[in-house]
Point group: C2
Chain length 171, copies 2
Amino acid sequence: MTISMSSASLPVFQTALTNLSHLLAKGQAHADAKKFDSLVLAQYRLAPDMLPFTRQVLIACDAAKLCVARLAGLEAPKFDDTETTLADLIGRIQKTLEWLQTVPASALDGTEAKSITFPMGKDKTRTMLGEDYLKHWAIPNVFFHVTTAYVILRHNGVDVGKGDFLLGSNA
Amino acid sequence: MTISMSSASLPVFQTALTNLSHLLAKGQAHADAKKFDSLVLAQYRLAPDMLPFTRQVLIACDAAKLCVARLAGLEAPKFDDTETTLADLIGRIQKTLEWLQTVPASALDGTEAKSITFPMGKDKTRTMLGEDYLKHWAIPNVFFHVTTAYVILRHNGVDVGKGDFLLGSNA
C-alpha cells in the first residue's frame, strides 16, 4: 500500500486521540489517589493567558474532526463544548473517535489538491490545498494540543511519560 | 501530485524545525529585553524529572534527522550534543535543516513497507513499517518536543502564540 490522504490522516488522529484519552484517565487516577478534585487539572493553565486543559482537549478533538470533515466534504457533528470534568472530556474524545470511524477512506483519498477554506479567528478565513492543510495545519494542531494537555498533567505530577503519549502507536 | 513518503516527511520536519528556530529567537529576544541570561530558559524544565529545554530541541532535531536517514537508508551526520545556549541550539537546527535539504525525495518515496528497526532506550529495539514509523512515531515525536519547547517558553512569559508555532506553514 502507498501512503494516501486517508492513511496519513485517520489513523494519525485516531491514535493521537486514543492516547489523549489514556492520558486523561491517568490524570483522573492521580487525582483520585491524591484525593483532590480533578477539576483542578481540567482548569489548569501553564500561563494566565493560555487556554486551560479543557480547551486543549476540545481543540485537539475538533482539529481532527474538522480536518477530516473538510477534506471529505462531510458535515461533522457539532458538539456543544459543555464539558467540564475529565470524564466529560473522555466522552468528547469518544464521540469524536466514533464519528471518525464512520468516515470511509475513499472520501479522503485524492483530496491532495482540493481547496480547503477554513475560519481563522473571528472574521478571517484561510485557504490551503488539502495536502498542505493536513500536514502543515491539522496534524501540527492536533499534536500541539495533545502535547500541551500532556505537559499540563506532567507539570502537575501525573505519572505520564512519552510512552503514554505514544501508547496507541503499536502499529 | 499525490501524497508520498517524501512529501509527508521532509516538508513537515523542515517546517516544524524552522518554526522551532523562530521560537528560540523569540526566547532570546525576550531574555535580552528583560535582561536575564537566556541559559535560564535553555535549562528550564516543567517538572524536576522532565528533560530541560535544550534536550527538547535536540531530540526534535534528531527525531526528524533519524527518521529521514532510516527511511532513506542514509547515514545521518552525528552531532555531539554539546549545545548549551539558545544560539547553539539555533545552530543545531540549522545544521539539521541543511542536511535534510540534501536528501532527495526519491530516497524516501516507496518506503511505506520498509522495515525500520530503531533503538528504544538502552538495550531494546523496535521494528515498524516505514509508513507507521513516520506517522505513528517520528512525526508525533517531533511535534511532541517542539510543542514542549514552545510551552516552556510560553510558561516563562515569552510572547509566543500558536501563530508562531505554525509560522512556517505558509504553504
